[in-house]
Symmetry: D2
């Protein structure tokens, strides 16, 4: 199967989720606002809230390795500000 | 173990991630901007990009069931606008 | 001055601010969270909070009219989702 | 008029807009994505794009001075992360 895809240039579709969060050391006012709001609504168990970004992508690439390599590259170059943000991702073949 | 926690009111800590995305039927200009930018940077395999929110919570609750119930409630009442957004979540005991 | 600019293709620099807000009819959970948080911090005068996006642009265009026309176009085509969002903008010549 | 308001505790309504932007020294991936997207759509005059937050508030306060003082306080304590963000605001009496 992979053999044929490689020969014929058939790509697979990958669904990826990128999670971008402020680094732990950086204060997160939006997260705090949500935390305060939840506490004022009597959700007493809320210890901490952090707000981040979720970016969902559909990628058509020959292999999972290539999809993953591209994704890492995109995070570093466009999606995340690595000075103040951390990122992680998940890839799912569909 | 659970027995003691129940008796003594010891709570467990749960780490939850809430994913909030615009409903499929709603156009996502920020996602489109990212898609166009990625295509212009020669990531040709990018088929679609959708931008969403990621909310990370630390919850202290007696049981996982209660944590989950609270979380669903928070999404409906505060975190998501269910007219234009979908939500889902993951809970992890830590 | 304008004469020379027109003749010689010299562009002016414009600084623009685009304000994108959810339509009044659409609930704004992030704004509500901020409102609740502010009330819980004893800012009793807070009646309403709405969260929006601010996009700042530097544009190099021959005339203010062209800058404005482009800007309106960008809002409609890329920056705002006009089904759920309103937009407005300000242009400043610099 | 002001006399009566002071005597009788009648508040005025203020409409405020808070502009929160990443500090100039901090890279803005979302702004860059929008810039690249606009350039790829042939808006050649786009020199720079920065993405920020717009927070609109309705405040009921006795005086404009108090509204402004509260607003500055809210920015420092909840709305902005002053390590990485700048803020400014406008107040309008309505």
């Amino acid at each position: 199967m992979r053999y044929w895809k490689d020969c014929w240039g058939v790509n697979s579709m990958y669904y990826a989720r990128v999670f971008i969060t402020l680094k732990k050391s950086i204060a997160d006012p939006q997260g705090n606002a949500i935390k305060e709001a939840l506490l004022s609504m009597k959700y007493d168990g809320v210890e901490d809230v952090r707000m981040g970004k979720l970016i969902e992508l559909k990628l058509e690439n020959p292999t999972r390795e290539e999809a993953e390599e591209n994704l890492k590259d995109m995070c570093e170059k466009l999606l995340a500000n690595t000075v103040i943000e951390d990122y992680s991702y998940e890839i799912l073949e569909v």
